[in-house]
């Protein structure tokens, strides 16, 4: 049949045409890095956003005065080359580097920094707490910023390093509309946004004014949204992509067998946990919560969810957080003890609880399925209520749940961000559990104001002890960030706080 012949030649022609395309660059390296991600960025305003895809994208574009180091346990200079603090701990002076420029060529000034931090201070958003201690900010000259605090504030450097404390060009954004800050970022970082196909791809080009000479090494960075895990992995293995984020744990060993790939399990600050609504019986009973915590086999969950790649959690804090207590007396898996605590609690079994979890996501489903089996041993029946993200979030915020599967990642090395979010009722109803303890409130307040590192350490050790005792959440495991990149990609770094660093990346052809 002639039509059949036409079809076959068409297929061959298309296939041949396919092999003619590809990116070529000078000196054996590609001009473009193509990185596949599992969630798309929505909005690139540093002050208003709390989702990682947004943060990790604008972190390619914006700089802060100070940044968290790669390991996530200290600080390094960024736009400020040095800083001093007055003996009373209330006046911070930041000295900005003189060679920093916006991608439009204008110099970065202390006035820009003052305007940006003032905006972060004034705007009602998820990160407003970071600038809470600030009383006044002033640029004393083009390169000196002086910040006065209301009182000595231990985590201040952490707060300045937070992504929401990104420095924006005041001249460009002072009278800009919200959607321009969200959609047309102008920064001083290694890359600048040149095209944004929303829900598809962020196209970035090297910022010609970036202060570090010879960086970024690759002229273009494409961050491409590929929601399907299988597709993202196949696109990497077939060479369409240079790297991908979040290959699922179940596929890590499969990808590791591919000699062309480098599969990374990068240290993160992720803690997976279940939240318990402590405002309702029987979860308002601390002994009952302890019984659940003892009946939870964290090693089993690590095996079932992470295929052994995670670390069972001992504290609410991620391992790399300052003042993480290695010697903490944590929960063990002890069914007998759980049964005994359950008896002491006075709660009569059988008890039925319902867990709200995100549908469509594999890990929460596996976690709750495993928990169902574990808790059944002490007479607690766990029913699962998978809901889509928006519906689940609404239930969680309204405290209309009993058990909720969720997780946290730190944005700063200091423990105060997480400790306050998790146990301070005013900040977020103690991670939306409804937990409220005056003893905890006192410790949290002390932790913010104590400047002596040793005394501060003791405070956060006490917070960790009290958290274990009251257990409004059950901490399950610390998960690494999974990343898979082509071995031809060199210089890629993922920070422990999450963002990728692409400025040193070069991809062989």
């Amino acid at each position: 049949m002639p039509i059949g012949r036409v079809f076959i030649s068409f297929v061959i022609a298309v296939a041949l045409a396919g092999s003619l395309f590809g990116t070529a660059g000078a000196a054996g390296y590609k001009n473009v890095i193509v990185f596949g991600v599992n969630r798309a960025a929505d909005n690139l305003d540093p002050v208003t956003q709390d989702a990682n895809p947004d943060i990790w994208a604008f972190m390619q574009i914006y700089q802060q005065l100070v940044r968290v180091n790669v390991k996530g346990d200290g600080f390094a200079p960024d736009l400020a080359e040095r800083w001093t603090v007055s003996p009373n701990g209330k006046t911070w002076t930041f000295y900005l580097r003189r060679d920093a420029r916006w991608s439009n060529g204008d110099p970065v000034t202390a006035a820009d920094a003052a305007w940006s931090l003032q905006r972060a201070h004034d705007l009602d958003g998820p990160w407003q707490w970071a600038m809470e201690a600030v009383q006044a900010m002033a640029a004393t000259d083009d390169h000196t910023l002086v910040i006065t605090l209301k009182e000595p504030w231990a985590p201040f450097l952490s707060d300045v390093s937070l992504f929401s404390s990104s420095i924006l060009p005041a001249k460009v954004f002072r009278s800009a509309k919200a959607e321009d800050i969200a959609g047309k970022p102008v920064g001083s970082g290694p890359f600048m946004l040149t095209e944004w196909k929303k829900g598809d791809e962020l196209v970035m080009k090297a910022n010609p004014s970036f202060f570090e000479k010879g960086r970024p090494r690759t002229a273009e960075l494409h961050i491409r949204y590929i929601p399907d895990d299988n597709n993202r992995m196949i696109a990497l293995q077939s060479g369409d992509l240079d790297g991908i984020d979040y290959p699922p744990f179940s596929q890590v060993s499969v990808l590791q067998r591919d000699p062309r790939l480098d599969v990374q399990l990068n240290p993160s600050t992720a803690v997976s946990h279940v939240m318990l609504n402590v405002t309702q019986a029987p979860l308002n009973n601390a002994k009952f919560r302890q019984a659940l915590a003892y009946a939870t086999d964290r090693a089993g969950i690590n095996k079932g969810v992470c295929y052994g790649a995670c670390v069972p959690a001992t504290s609410f804090m991620p391992l790399t957080t300052q003042y993480f207590n290695k010697g903490l007396k944590a929960y063990t898996y002890d069914v007998e003890k759980a049964k005994q605590l359950l008896k002491e609690s006075g709660v009569t079994t059988p008890v039925t609880l319902t867990a709200v979890l995100w549908s469509g996501a594999g890990d929460p489903l596996t976690t709750t399925t495993l928990l169902k089996g574990m808790w059944a041993q002490i007479g607690v029946t766990l029913n699962l209520a998978p809901l889509d993200r928006a519906a689940a979030t609404q239930r969680m915020r309204a405290l209309d749940y009993q058990v909720y599967v969720s997780g946290w990642t730190n944005d700063v090395p200091d423990p105060s961000e997480l400790a306050n979010y998790e146990f301070d009722f005013v900040t977020a109803k103690s991670y939306h559990t409804g937990y409220h303890s005056p003893q905890m409130d006192k410790l949290l307040a002390d932790g913010m104001r104590e400047l002596d590192p040793n005394k501060r350490r003791q405070i956060y050790y006490q917070i960790q002890d009290l958290a274990i005792q009251d257990s409004p959440l059950i901490w399950l495991y610390y998960a690494p960030y999974t990343i898979a990149i082509n071995k031809k990609m060199h210089g890629f770094v993922q920070m422990a706080t999450g963002p990728w660093l692409f400025k040193d990346v070069a991809v062989e052809q």
């Binding site: 590929i226 399907d228 977020a428």
Partner: protein
Amino acid sequence: MLRYALGRIGQTVPIALLVTVLIFLLIKLLPGDPASAILGDRATDASVTALRHQWGLDRPIWQQYLVYMHNLATGNLGKSLRYQSPVTEMLPARMAVTFFLVTYSLVLSVLIAVPLALVAAAYRNRWPDQLIRAAMALPLASPGFWVGILFLILFSLKLRWFPAEGYGAGFVDHVRHLFLPALTLSYAFAAVLCRNLRSSLVDVLSTAYVDFARAKGLRRQVVLFRHVFRAALLPAVTLVGVRLTYAIGGSVVIETVFAIPGLGSWMVDSILARDYVVVQTLTLMFALGTMLINLTTDLIYPLFDPRLRMG
């Protein structure tokens, strides 16, 4: 003919209005609030309330509907809640992608189905026919998202003929990028089309006028193409129309599997983010698209069947 066409077009207006009401109510029935979905887990209650007010979500539903209809009537499709940019700005590019994909899949279906159906009908009940019929039963029983992954593994991973994701830039690149998704979308339909076309060809082949044409000495191919094929095409046209509407629905799954920035994947993302504005617009687009296809199918009939031209 003109009256027939006008009548059909007139029927679509009330349906379109009904669709807008249904869409509006259905999405409001969904639990989950866009403001907290978009602001994220760490948002403060005050900022969620402020955003709901800014978007008018705290007003009564009928007021929200009137605002929506007023905007629609003035061509204002609103701003995506999630991206804060006008829907009309994002719509054309996305629409072009899905249109390309659906058309491409239709072309592939026809290219696969027609030759096979002709062969099967010409060799009725002999081995080529049996083979084609057996082979065409397989795609009907395999779901698209699964076959899509198999195609990816074979054509992208092993053979490296086609890219695994995306849309590409420029026509040739689009053809290359969309080949696998279009094939995934088309192969099950090709099977239906092939079986359908085969049986109508077989029916026509056994009519008296075909015997007559053969008897007067016309060559086999001439009879097949000039007399049989055209007559057998009418049921296939209906099928293509019905199927096109399915393809629009199928694009929702396929675009997500292949990471194609069309209307379907946008729809999925927008539903998950409770981006009401986008979901409303896209559902309306899908509904209008379906109605347009049905209308076109109805208007095409007379071209194939002269009896309908009288009506």
